[in-house]
Amino acid sequence: MRWGWGRDRQSDIEEREERLAHIRIEADRLIEEGVPPREAMERARERFGYDPSLDASDARARMNPLEFLARDVRQAVRHLASAPGSTTTILLSLVVGIGVNTAIFSLADQTLVRPLPIDEPHRVVQLSWEGQWVGEGRGWGSILPHPLFLGVQEPGRDLFSSIAARSPGVATLVTPAGPERANLSLVTGEFFTTMGIRPHLGRLIDPSDDVVLDGHPVAVLSHSFWSTRYASDPDVVGRELVINQRPFTVVGVAPEEFHGTDWSVVPVAWTSMMMNDHIHAWGDLDQPRVRFQHVFARLAPGVSQRDAEDAIQPWFQRYLRTDMEHASWPGDREESEIGAYLQSRLALLDGGSGQAARSYELTEPVMILSFATLLLLLLACLNVANLSLARAVARYRDTAVRTALGASRGRIMTERFVESGLLALVGGALGVLMAPVIGRWILAYLEVGGTGMAIDATLDGRTLIGALLIALVATVLSGIGPAWFAASTQPMGALRSRGTAGGVRLRRALVVGQVALALVLLMSAGLFASTLATLRAGGPGFATDQLITFAVHPGNDGYGPVEAKQRLEEILEAARGVGGVESAGMAVWPMLTGSGWGNSMYVDARDGRFETDLYLPMNAVTPGYFDLLGVDIVRGRDFDEADRTAGDEWAWDKTIVSQSFVDRYLPDEEPLGVRIDFTREDRATLRMEIIGVVEDFAEHRLRDPEPQIYFPILSQVRTGATFYARSRLPLAEVGPAIRARVADLDPVLTVSDMRTFDEQIDRLLVFERLLSSIGAAFALFATGLAMIGIYGVLAFSVQARTKEVGIRMALGAPRIDASRLIVTDALRLTVLGVAVALPLSWLLGSLHEWWR
């Protein structure tokens, strides 16, 4: 037996030629004896007993490789069609395995890997503060204060060809399509140069738009906003876009593929950083203690990321020292904190993928999904291998006969690979077709949770290459076993025995693998489902039925803080008057949306003043708010109108804390009357007095209760508030009525984010719901595959043991023994599978725990 075709073909051709020569020689001889030529040839042929032109090996020799392959493919199709059941199962396994993998691969690629569609993304870096930050807000080091951006211009002159800052903002926009609240991005003059992109229409924000504070009401529209709100108007440049009641001029449209630096929050338009105060973005431009910007830079030609980072450190050290002399520097910091602050570095991170890849919460779910899909693919491959092996075993005798007749090992393996390759190709193609469908299903979940993420379900070249690789791996994984089995067929043994035990050990191993993988997927699905169920069952700590929510932001509709507060009060009154509404209240920050306000606090406890070790969720609310939600004041009292003294948003002197706050920070003393404050001032007593303790409920997240702090809404509100109303009627009836009332009150105001509170929670739990649903789907599919696997192997071994069972029963063994024999066998496989799965599941469980 030989490997490959080369020598085979050569000697085949020679033999054929030799035989033909012999026929001719014999014919010549007969002619010499006087036989007519034609009859001589016929007799010669007959004499040799065969016609070389009909010889199969001869036919093979004359075929070119393409015909050769075509023949193999035809043969494979015939074989596959002769067993439609297993072919369908194999195809289904492959389609789902490859389809899901392709979809998740595409998702992972778009969210975690792919660089921004910008010029030379590898040259773009993002500045990041690594070390101790002193100031407002915690979070990632890549969020920086504006003065740092201004300062880095000077040392960055030779290192970077351009430097830019951007910050997110939410504003009320009025376009020809009507008013709406939407995400904006505020950028400095060199932002688009740094990204290296060119406008689709008009021009982009440039340094001339970055000169005078509040003096550049210009906007660049995103391509999709331009096409949906302005109907792709080619003359849009120069038209007006109202942002927070002020007319801005549209100067250009960004290219279609550019969604900003964060695919998770896609802006509809870009405007100048100089308009920061008008947009009410997240911070003040002149405050070094407030950070709200991402700073990107494009490395100058010939400068490496590393060199630039080293070169910038001396300046950053000076910046840190100068910063400590700024008026806003808190005088109360410990030596150790100041030491850590001075140890900080300004790192340069890869900026070519934008800032989202590093910070966004989708990272872990996508990683978990990728891992689970890989398991699923592996399971599908095991199943395919198992079924193909069964097929190979069924053809054992056939293969043996062919081997005996001289078919080479290479020949038979080639046929098997053509067969599994064909399956993988068809399965892969169908899988790729299915991938966008699965992708859209996943995105449908995300859409409910986020607003306008720039991920799509369509596949690009990278993904297709990925899918191809996946299909290739699947072919090799699932084809190698059967091919090896077929090739190692020993003709004599096979021809003698009626069946074969061959391959059973391998198949049993495959089934154990399938059971183990299915169990792992089942258990992780269980974990995800129980997480979700726990969160849902626990709920926010109050009844959510009949609770609806909406938001109004008068501060973005042209009103100052005092007028805004008045408008909000009027809306609250109006909402209470709507038919069906039983009670209503409002809070400055929305509850359970994934964003919110929090800070640490100083507490005057009996044993002295201390700072809380946690970042405490807080909110400012109206009197009756807790009542509306249905959470009890367990000590003291609720806010009343008398607590709502004049003053700006921050002038509180009364506060209500949650039970967890008391448990954690004031466990052994009377909480009422204890004073707390944001700053540790050198006063005998801190400013705010605790007047009540409220039951625990969820302000920021649905997990364990957190210490929370509440203040009354005073006489000013800077932007707006979120309203909550208990309603006997469904949202579909109450919603329009509320909108109408608000419009009656003031047509300028825009009502946004109107939904039921249950929907609000669904949005918050988007990833949990996604993982739980996908996990369940995976587990179901995996269990089905494992069942097919067990069934296949058992059916086979039962068949092989019919004789044994028959003999046993003939000798008087009760029927139950026979059943026991088979069931024990099945159980053994399952137990082995469980034994393999347990450590894996334990690992997964810890991973899951860590993720939570």
């Binding site: 020679e14 033999e15 030629e17 030799e18 035989r19 020569a21 012999h22 001719r24 020689i25 014999e26 010549d28 001889r29 010499e32 040799f48 007993g49 065969y50």
Partner: protein
């Protein structure tokens, strides 16, 4: 196995005998496959009929053992054909095999006794 019984009473070629017949035939000089077959058939008084399904494997086998060599040449009536020729080892092998066959035949003859009729053929 060389069996071609066309209904006439040709003798079946015993297993392993074709090789020695080929070698013996080639002792006379180089010859192509068909020539070898014809020679065996005629010298056996047409008792043997050489099946070509056995001839080629036998020729290959002998080549593999380096007892014969082959090369392409032209036959007497101008046909291209593969000609076979004994190697030195093959020449020695003819002697070995011939001696063995004679011993075997003699031994068989002694055991079986004188020819007792057609029924044993």
């Amino acid at each position: 196995m060389t069996t071609q019984n066309d209904g006439n009473d040709r003798v079946e070629l015993l297993q392993g005998t074709l090789d020695v017949l080929i070698l013996r035939t080639l002792l006379a000089g180089r010859q192509h496959g068909q020539g070898i077959a014809r020679t065996i058939e005629t010298t056996s008084g047409d008792e043997f009929l050489i099946d070509h399904g056995s001839l080629y494997p036998a020729l290959k086998r002998l080549q593999k053992r380096r007892w014969i060599e082959a090369e392409w040449g032209v036959s007497s009536n101008n046909r291209r054909a593969r000609f076979y020729e004994l190697t030195d080892a093959g020449r020695r092998q003819v002697e070995v095999e011939t001696r063995r066959w004679h011993r075997l035949a003699a031994a068989m003859g002694r055991v079986l006794g004188p020819d007792s009729g057609e029924e044993l053929a």
